[in-house]
Symmetry: C2
Subunit: 210 residues, 2 copies
């Protein structure tokens, strides 16, 4: 049963990817705990991409409510609200349906903001080109040891809120070393969605250029 659900999701994920590719849309599945700063990071990136001539949209996933969706809309970023009801992660079926609400021909890049959670989303790839996990400096320097699976399943990892580094007690070198054990040669990106620091480097890893 469990295996069937996972296999079915993977198959649907591939269909989502093909649908997006057929509309020339690139995409990233953004995962992370509540409070990691996913929404602001996506908002800042999407607005900056608009300045670069790249039209970004967001699927805003949440268990309930539409707070994130409202923030994107207020920032002028096309968005669709996706509520999971009780599930702690999006799945490819929900994404497939949500895409029906977007004008795919008017979009160049899609951010999928997953439900705030570091565990459940790992096993449910959504078909996005990239999977990006976001943690914040306030979550401690043992995050990678505690939640290895989501870091293994992601091709991009971001340490956000680095503007708060002087105010928190965390060993950033330990985090880097832990990440390098999993992904030798891959960089743990450092961003501040608040100040914009580090977003340029992140764009390069997502192959986003002016």
């Amino acid at each position: 049963m469990e295996a069937d659900i996972l296999a079915e999701n993977r198959k649907l994920g591939q269909e989502v990817r093909r649908l997006l590719h057929s509309h020339n849309i690139r995409s990233v599945d953004v995962m992370g705990s509540i409070g990691a700063g996913k929404t602001l990071l996506i908002e800042k990136m999407a607005v900056e991409m608009g300045r670069m001539g790249i039209k970004a949209a967001v699927l805003a996933g949440d268990v309930t409510g539409q707070d994130d969706f409202d923030r994107f809309r207020d920032a002028g970023v096309p968005a669709v609200n996706v509520n999971t009801g009780k599930e702690c992660h999006l799945d490819a079926h929900l994404v497939d349906h949500a895409l029906e609400e977007l004008d795919l021909d008017s979009i160049d890049f899609l951010f999928i903001e997953n439900v705030g959670n570091l565990v459940c989303p790992a096993d449910f790839p959504l078909g996005a080109d990239h999977r990006m996990v976001v943690i914040s400096v306030t979550e401690g320097d043992d995050m990678i040891r505690k939640q290895p699976l989501i870091f293994l399943e992601s091709d991009i990892a971001v340490l956000n809120k680095i503007d708060l580094l002087p105010h928190v007690d965390m060993d950033i070198d330990r985090l880097d070393a832990d990440y390098a054990k999993f992904k030798k040669g891959a960089r743990l990106f450092r961003t501040s969605a608040k100040t914009g620091e580090g977003i340029e480097e992140l764009f390069k890893a997502l192959n986003i250029h002016a």
Copy 2:
């Protein structure tokens, strides 16, 4: 029948990806015509990665023979030869078997050199984190219009042999414009495997850092 084969390949591809991730291995599926320079580009990248402390290996796919495999071995890069017999592309099943011949715990990054062909590989994702298509300046400036599918299915596209640009009659701006139509904001990378030019930028898109 055809649909079953594609679905089965996609399922196996996901298993390959999970196997590689469980060994902390990142990977790229390198596609392109015969003569695009895939082998030399991979060789240069793998050797440079060795200097950076990142252990790269190669699955060398070919219809028959082991010329590419020999080149990698001569360059000191761990490699496995994979012959498809008559198929014009690798598939996830072949990759899965070939991986049994590698010591996965001693590898950080895997290049999968697909069979030299711009058409067949597109429909058969192998489970790699990235799909990279390589064309060369000698193939003309209408490559993207002629073979859109493989560019859509790839997250990275490379124009190789740019050292030959002064000697060929091709409009590189046309190629860039065609690519931008498909992947707005994504860069068509330019490399010379011969001189090493452009490899540093390509490393950033693959999230490969010293």
